[in-house]
């Protein structure tokens, strides 16, 4: 059983993460991740079930190690990606935060999100997801060891990226 005082602290951490994304402070956002962090957005199979073996299945995004996330940030900030230029503005609506438990591996936390993205010329895109986090305590702060994003709208209108889910 996790410390009941943990839920508000975890929620505040998740809200801070969302706020950094919405403010496009991607460098600070990367700082929330451990060096060996996993960022995973499963795809679905033809049977509409999420893929469960990330190594040997197709995923929307499966990044092991912060360098892969840094490359994503590098790309959208490069100015060379037409899909990211203009960069959509986002608002992450993070809710239903629950701490599922704490073990030697870290704190398992759950949340729901709805992310509204807007830019010209594509207009509004709304993506809805559940988050499953594993958070580590490092130097009195949380670090994201893994972030799994279970996307509701797997039939994608156009495209999406790490900051619009």
């Amino acid at each position: 059983m996790a410390d009941p005082g943990l839920t508000p602290a975890v929620a505040e951490f998740l809200y801070r993460e969302a706020r950094l994304l919405d403010a496009r402070k991607f460098g600070e956002w990367l700082g929330l991740f451990a060096e060996d962090a996993i960022f995973w957005v499963p795809a679905v199979g033809m049977d509409r079930a999420y893929t469960s073996e990330p190594e040997t299945s197709l995923n929307f995004i499966y990044i092991v190690g912060r360098a892969g996330l840094e490359a994503r940030v590098f790309r959208v900030e490069s100015g060379g990606s037409l899909a990211s230029n203009p960069l959509p503005h986002t608002r992450h609506l993070v809710t239903n935060v629950m701490v599922d438990g704490e073990s030697a591996k870290g704190i398992a936390a759950f949340a729901n999100t709805q992310v509204v993205a807007f830019c010209e010329p594509r207009g509004q895109q709304i993506l809805t997801a559940s988050y499953e986090y594993l958070l580590r305590r490092e130097d009195g702060q949380f670090r994201i060891a893994s972030k799994k994003v279970l996307l509701l709208e797997y039939l994608i209108d156009g495209y999406f990226d790490f900051f619009t889910v």
Binding site: S57, A71, G80, I156, Y159
Partner: protein, 451 residues
Amino acid sequence: MNAPTLLRNRGSFADYIDDRPAEHVFRVDRTIYNDPDILEAEYRNIFEANWVFLCHEAHVRKPGDYFATHIGRQPVFVVRQSDGSIGCFLNACGHRGATLITKRIGNATEFVCPYHGFCFNTAGKCTAVSAPRTGWSEQHLVLSEFDLTPIARIDSYRGLVFGSLSAAVPSLREHLGAAMALIDIFVAPVPAELEIVPGFSIYQTSCNWKIMHENGPDAYHAPVVHNNFAQAVIYREKREARSGVARTDTGRLTAGRLESASYDLGNGHTAFWHKRPNPEAFPVYAQREELARRFTPGQMEWIIGRGRHMTIFPNLLLNDLASTHLRTYRPIAVDRMETMIWCIAPVGEPEEMRVARLRKFEDFFLPSGMATPDDVAVAESAQKASFAFDSKWTSMGRGIDFKIEGPDAAARELGFSPQASSNSWDHEIAMQGVYRRWRDMMDSGEGRRNG
């Protein structure tokens, strides 16, 4: 303003294609991307009149396995029948026309309509109706009247399943023609069967289907649109010190001019290849010694040394560039299309190879990747600009000056005979073949319709 005239006022679809080989000009009228009448004519004369790609045999491996898809506007499902053959039926109950198969894939020996409970077997025969005795006298209940409607033709080549709603088509082999040798190279090097890796992606794009179909054979855009992909991957590889198959062959995007070629394969099919700057980054490289015992040095150059890409008109893309990739697509409105993509790989390959293949697939090809979103953004912007009627023409003339009629040396080595070859993957010769095929199918189809 020079607004588009209605389709019925056009004499011929040749009006949309400015094809003057002697003057080295090839252009298409941008109206073809935004006129709803043209899409209707494409459904009639292309998608519902000739061979289209349906699925891979691996999607329907076992008896009862089914795969629901579309041929043009028409919903169909492919099914592995009890005798092991592959059938395809219109996905509409023979009674009142409800959608019979509502999942994308599944397995069943009997299909029960969700509306009134009519039952069908994998051969499309109606086997039972609900409450038969109280609805029909015995002599008037003829189950076969409710049988599902099969499509006119179904056939497969090297695991790729194609169907046609029209019976008046040449054989599939005749339709594929010169493309078969390239499909063989895609499939044949590895003795193992190919499988569809778990997971797929489906996405909709706000552009005419032909804009994305053109994007396939168009390697000219890659160093421009995907330079940011290459730079992001190079950044990551420096950070992580990647080696071997974990590396991505970014050289094809950054090396400047590479040895390469492109082909108009005939019947609207296209292909290109480029020399791989880093062949060791591909899983097949590890099998080079075994392969060298079975293939000639010329064939080995095709298998190991070259990234390869092909499109089969009108709805299949196969490539072995960053990863091994199967893609199909369909128009759903004049300015909207739907794409499905899969990673395809040899059964039983070592996990290290499978993992590298998948990660590179995710990097590039998905709507959540680092390259496909930029293709989608470009295609959608081209769709908007197609309404610039006063500028009218889209040019596809690059490379005409270097065009070779028939095969080049590399094509002869592999043993296929394209309509035309060119000595660069960034030429537009192959797209010209696409639009000549488009023009001819549209003209002959409308000709049949109008007598």
